[in-house]
Amino acid sequence: MKAFLARRTATLGVAVLLASFVVFLIPYVTPGDPVRKIIRSRVAGDVIDDATVQRLAVELGLQDPFWVQYVRWLARFCSGDMGLSHVSRTPVIDQVLPALSVTLSLVVLTLGTAAVAALVLGITAALQEGHVADRLITTTTQAFIAMPEYWLAPVLVLVFALKLSVLPSAGWTGPASAVLPVAALALRPTSYFTSAVREGVIDALRAEHIAAARSRGLTYAQAVWRHAVPNGMLPLTTMVSVWFAGLLGGSVIVEVIFAIPGMGRLLYDAVLNSDIPVAQGGVAVVVGLAVVLTTLADLAHRLLNPRLREHHA
């Protein structure tokens, strides 16, 4: 276990370094002058004074070779300082933490909803394998996969905000405002999770130990709850952690449509405006969190699966 944790800690460091380096390269591999992008994000307009461009480049240290800038950022980051935003000139941490807390809430609600729905639907489908309920659940959840967020979100707004007037169309102001964005984000993971739970439960129901358990006197319901359902939950831990990591920075479309001030929108704006300190700080936090979460998921997976625990012990 210690070796496992040591490996994962090293992975965490390397992943954060690599991700922050890739983000750092963005202004050098995308067209356009980063200083002009920074200026345009503050004062919209096409005509930009060359003297201002040159002065700002010096003040922000952007005239230095890119590796000098990167090492400077890395040294500061390692000492716990994410620096100042190029655009707002305020501490990056003050932008990243509020955005992270919003996105974490959004993602936890989304994956919690998806996991609960998947357990109910997946177990029902497995127990009714081949029957109408199974076919209905399987077909419906497969259809969810074909509904991307950029299509689904406006449709949800149209139905529940405009036609029925039962939910707010945008904002992040309370439980009601979370319903539509969570629904827009949760449908696709629900689909994948349901499929995994269904397969897991069906596999378990066909396994010999279920028959053995029943021969020991367990009722069908007891066998299902004690053996089949845990087997169906097993893949969920890994899938939830993978989706968690993806949604931390990948909910940008939903965040823009519903005007949610989360990480996706923060990173999108930062890259658009060449606000590299914000982009780097945000990505480092997201990647770090993703590695930590997948490590925790692996640990949980080992605890839930005795065979895996024994195999790697």
Binding site: T30, P31, G32, D33, R36, K37, I38, I39, S41, R42, V43, A44, G45, D46, V47, D49, T52, R55, L56, E59, V87, S88, R89, T90, Q95, P98, A99, P154, V157, L158, A161, L162, S165, P168, S169, A170, G171, W172, T173, V256, I257, F258, A259, P261, R265, L266, D269, N273
Partner: protein, 473 residues
């Protein structure tokens, strides 16, 4: 109220955050641009005069108090203006290039000094970037507008990137304020802004996209307001490169295009075919016979006169930041094909093509400029975009007569005479067919029908006012 942007640089007044504070009814300036009258009118200053060649003196209004209870003084005005002048990224309208100093002559008089004589100083003092906050707003190094404005509404809380909440200023110098308060939300997605005014979650949605108009038009509780904006979608042509260096060729392109079809199809009727470099409602608009009509025969004759023979396909660059430009380019491509001019379309990010545009290494580009983005006068636009040494002369057009007219206008204090000179300059641009001005875009706001005394400002600087009201507020 739904606005289309959030402050990006906290509340620094030299940044576009000043627009948000101004449209929210918090920030006020020494002068204001009255769009209906087409002139500068008093605001925090009651009068102004040019006291010497380079000096302008502004007399402050008596009895104005900031929302923190302190008096509006010349010293407070100087502090605010000096902060903007000293900014890392200075404001377009008010920066050290155009203003060399600000000083308090006495408690009620502020002097603005310019490097050279400038009749446009009162216009610069109408820019939202020159808004005035009390001195307490600058105490911690950052700009804190909360309780430090002079306007009818005072900001009381902010949800970063989400919204700004304001309360009525009970001691507003301009008289009773009708609304008890307001919330300004920052919603970048246009369709969401339109949805919010339909559901009644918002009373005003600014800058509604054309694609949402059909849904709003059928809604009895929503009014859609349109006004000419100072933005003209333009096909820029590189006048320094063949075949665009021949005026007959440029005129041929103009005759080949069907601007009516463009306005009704791509812009779905939310833009008006352009008749020249200015919108017809602008006081400096040229006397025109209307938008150029498509005339295929005339286009072919002009191409023959220019000695044009189809060779390499000409390239139109469509900027991706304006989604509609891809469709505009396709319509133009079809129109030009009909007169025998082959065209290819390239879709690129603005940042990636800017160096080529400024260097004159391109054929045609679709772009849209705001003529009044600096001040409520087109001098900055006409100088930067069309004079020989203009810093944003994408057309690479150079005409000595035009330059002389613009230089004369820049030194003309009388607004009517200056506008006449702008019209004269505009006529040269039209005669030379420097660019093809395609459509004048409309500023579109959607408001709930029960909102009263709402006056649309095409530049969205003044939205919430003391007079804005709604039943039960």
């Amino acid at each position: 109220m739904d606005n289309f942007r959030a402050p990006v640089a906290d509340w620094a007044l030299e940044s576009d955050a000043a627009y948000i504070l101004s449209l929210s009814g918090c920030l006020e300036t020494l002068t204001k641009y009255d769009h209906a009258q087409g002139k500068i009118v008093p605001s925090l200053a009651t009068e102004w005069k040019q006291s010497s060649t380079r000096d302008w003196d502004f007399t402050l209004r008596d009895g104005v108090r900031f929302q923190d209870g302190t008096d509006l003084t010349a010293e407070a005005v100087v502090t605010s203006l000096q902060k903007v002048l000293d900014a890392e990224v200075p404001a377009r309208a008010f920066n050290p290039t155009v203003v060399s100093g600000v000083q308090a002559l006495d408690e009620h008089t502020v002097r603005i000094t310019t490097p050279v004589e400038s009749p446009l100083v009162p216009y610069r003092l109408a820019s939202v970037n020159t808004g005035v906050l009390s001195q307490a707003a600058y105490e911690d190094g950052a700009v804190d507008p909360f309780g430090h404005c002079t306007g009818p509404f005072t900001p009381v809380s902010e949800k970063p990137k989400q919204s700004l909440t304001l309360d009525r200023n009970e001691d507003y110098w301009g008289g009773p304020v009708q609304l008890a308060g307001a919330e300004v939300r920052f919603i970048t997605d246009g369709a969401t802004r339109a949805a919010q005014v339909q559901t009644g979650e918002a009373d005003v949605s600014l800058s509604v996209p054309v694609s949402s108009l059909s849904a709003l038009d059928g809604h009895s509780d929503v009014k859609v307001l349109k006004a000419d904006s100072p933005r003209t979608a333009t096909l820029y042509m590189n006048n320094s490169r063949a075949p665009f260096d021949d005026v007959n060729f440029r005129k041929a392109i103009r005759s080949a295009l069907d601007l009516d079809a463009l306005a009704s199809s791509v812009y779905e009727g939310a833009a008006i075919p352009a008749s020249g470099p200015f919108a017809s409602s602008e006081p400096w608009a040229t006397q025109s016979t209307g938008a150029a009509r498509q005339d295929v025969k005339a286009a072919k004759d002009l191409l023959a006169a220019a000695g044009y023979t189809p060779g390499r396909p000409l390239e139109i660059i469509a900027i991706v930041e304006r989604a509609e430009f891809a469709d505009v380019a396709t319509v133009i491509q079809e129109n030009l094909k009909n007169v025998g001019v082959p065209v290819t379309i390239e879709t690129k990010e603005y940042a990636s093509v800017e160096p080529d545009l400024l260097a004159g290494d391109y054929d045609m580009v679709l772009s849209q400029r705001n003529r009044l983005i600096d001040i409520a006068d087109p001098i900055g636009f006409l100088t930067a975009d069309y004079t020989c040494d203009g810093s944003y002369n994408l057309s690479h057009f150079c005409n000595k007569e035009y330059d002389q007219i613009i230089a004369k206008a820049a030194g003309t204090g009388d607004a009517q005479e200056r506008y006449r000179l702008y019209a004269e300059a505009g006529k040269i641009l039209e005669e030379q067919a420097v660019n093809i001005w395609l459509v004048n875009e409309q500023a579109i706001d959607a408001v709930r029908s029960d909102l009263q005394s709402y006056v649309q400002d095409p530049l969205s600087r003044y939205v919430l006012t003391a007079d804005t009201s709604k039943p039960g507020s």
